[in-house]
Symmetry: C2
Subunit: 278 residues, 2 copies
C-alpha cells in the first residue's frame, strides 16, 4: 500500500511523492519518483535509483538536480528514497551525521539503531519490489548517489552486481572506514568489530575482486570535504588492483553542492541510459 501525497508535471512527465509503511525499516517512509512521458503499462521504463547525502530527504534531488529534461529525453524513471528511517519512535541523536537523515545505506546491528536502521535491505529489496509492483517500470535498474549516497550507490551496486546495470556517484564517501563520517557511523551502527565495516566500504570491496559493472564517479576538486572525508584516490587505487571499470573524473573548481550535481547529471543519465537500454 502506497499513498500519493504530491504530484507535479515536469518536462511532460510526473514527479510524485508517496508514503508507505516500510517492513524493513519498521516505520512510515516517503519516497519520490520521476516518471518520464514514455512510461506506460504498455511501455515500462528502466529505473535509476538515486541515494541522497547527509541531511537530505527524498526532495533534494527532485528540487535541485535539474535531471528531468534529460531523463524525459532518455525515458528513464528516477526513484529517490529518504536517507534514513524517520519518526518519533526512531532512534536519533543531535548532529547531522548520525541518526535520522544519516542512515548510511547499511543494516545496523547495534542497539538502539538496529530496530529501524536497515536501509540496505530497504534500498536493495523492499523499495525496488514496491516500485516494480506499483509503477510502469521494468526490473532493469541502475544506481547513483551523492556523498553518503555515493557511498550507498557504490557499495550496494558492487554487492549486487546482477541486480544493477551500472553505478555512478558524485563526491562519494569512497573509503568510509578511514574517514571521520564513516568511522562515527560504522561504530554506532555496526559496533567496534571493524571486520563488519569492510562490507560497507566501496574501496575495500574493490580490493577483493574485479567489479564487472561500469562505474562513473565525478568529484569536484574544490570540494570542502575532499581530503578528510571523501578520498576518491583510495577508490581509484582499489579499482586498479583488479582492473575494475571505474572512470573517476576530477572536476576543477566544483564543490560539494547540488550546483556540482546539476552541472554533470546529464552525463550520468547518458551513462546509465547506455547500460539500461543496451
Amino acid at each position: 500500500m502506497i499513498e500519493n501525497i504530491s504530484q507535479n508535471k515536469v518536462f511532460n512527465g510526473w514527479q510524485k511523492q508517496y508514503t508507505h509503511d516500510s517492513n524493513s525499516l519498521n516505520c512510515a517512509m516517503r519516497f519520490a519518483i520521476y516518471l518520464p512521458p514514455q512510461a506506460s503499462a504498455n511501455s515500462p521504463v528502466p529505473v535509476l535509483y538515486w541515494l541522497s547525502g547527509l541531511t537530505c530527504t527524498d526532495e533534494n534531488f527532485m528540487h535541485k538536480a535539474g535531471a528531468f529534461r534529460k531523463a524525459a529525453e532518455l525515458g528513464i524513471a528516477i526513484v529517490a528514497p529518504d536517507t534514513s528511517p524517520r519518526g518519533e519512535n526512531v532512534a536519533n541523536v543531535d548532529g547531522y551525521d548520525l541518526g535520522q537523515g544519516a542512515g548510511f545505506y547499511l543494516n545496523a546491528t547495534q542497539a538502539p539503531w538496529s530496530a529501524h536502521y536497515q536501509m540496505y535491505d530497504y534500498v536493495t529489496q523492499e523499495l525496488p519490489a514496491l516500485i516494480e509492483a506499483n509503477f510502469p517500470v521494468t526490473s532493469v535498474k541502475s544506481i547513483s548517489g551523492h556523498s553518503m549516497g555515493g557511498h550507498g550507490a557504490l557499495t550496494i551496486g558492487l554487492k549486487n552486481q546482477s541486480a544493477y546495470r551500472s553505478i555512478s556517484a558524485f563526491s562519494p564517501i569512497a573509503n568510509p572506514m578511514r574517514c571521520p563520517w564513516g568511522q562515527k557511523a560504522f561504530s554506532a551502527y555496526l559496533g567496534t568489530d571493524k571486520s563488519t565495516w569492510q562490507n560497507y566500504d566501496a574501496s575495500y570491496l574493490l580490493t577483493q575482486d574485479k567489479a564487472e559493472l561500469p562505474m562513473l564517479v565525478d568529484q569536484g576538486d574544490a570540494d570542502q570535504f575532499l581530503t578528510e572525508q571523501l578520498m576518491p584516490e583510495a577508490l581509484s587505487a582499489a579499482a586498479e588492483q583488479h582492473g575494475s571499470k571505474l572512470t573517476l573524473r576530477m572536476q576543477p573548481g566544483y564543490d560539494h553542492s547540488y550546483y556540482f550535481i546539476a552541472s554533470f547529471i546529464d552525463d550520468h543519465l547518458i551513462f546509465h541510459a547506455k547500460h539500461l537500454q543496451g
Copy 2:
C-alpha cells in the same frame, strides 16, 4: 559596497550571493547572480533580471529553476533579487502575502510600509546600477519572473520599455487590481485610491497603449491559483486592444511550482537571448 557571501561553480560559470546596504530600501539586501563562463571584463554579457514570487528569496530560482545550462550556453547573466526589504526594523505582518517576502515590486506610499517598501526603485534603478558597476556585464537587459514576480516583470518592463529588450513571465498575477492577492497588497502599500493601483497592473497598462517590447508568458492550466489570482485572459485581452506583442502559452497539466518553471525556462532564455543579442 557589496559583500560576497557564497559562491558555487555551476556549468562552468559561477552562482554567487552578495549583501549590500540598499539606499532605496533603507536596509541590508541580498541578491544572487549567475555569471556564465563567457563573462569577463573584456567580454561583458547581457543580464536577465529574475523576480521571484511570494515567500521567495534570492535563492529559489538559483536552486530550482535549472536555468544554468542554457544560460551558460547562451552567455547570459541572471540576477535574482530578494522579494522585499528584510530585517527586524522592516514592517511586517503575519501571513505570506503581505510584508516581508511580498514586496510586489512597487513603491509603497502608505505608513508603515513606505519607509522600506520601495522595490520598484530598487529593481529599476539601484540594483542595475550596482550590477553594472561590479560585474562584467553590459547595460543590455531583459526581465522575467514568476507569479508576484511575473507581475513585477510585466509592470516594470512595460513602464521602462527603453531599459529592457524583452519581458517574460511564468504564471504572473496579470491583473492584480482584480484579484485577492493584489487587492490586499495594493490596499496596504498604496492606500484606497484605486487610481494609484493602475500604475502597477500589467493588464491595465496594456489597455493604455501599445507595448513595443516582445512578451512571452507561460501559464499552467492546472495552476491552483489560475482562476482566482492570475487571470492571464485579462492580459491577453488587453494586449489585443493595441496589438501588443504578447505570446501567451497555456501549458496543459502544469501547476504553479518550480517544476513548471524548470520545464520551460530554456524557452524563456532562448527568447530573451534573441532580443538581448539582436
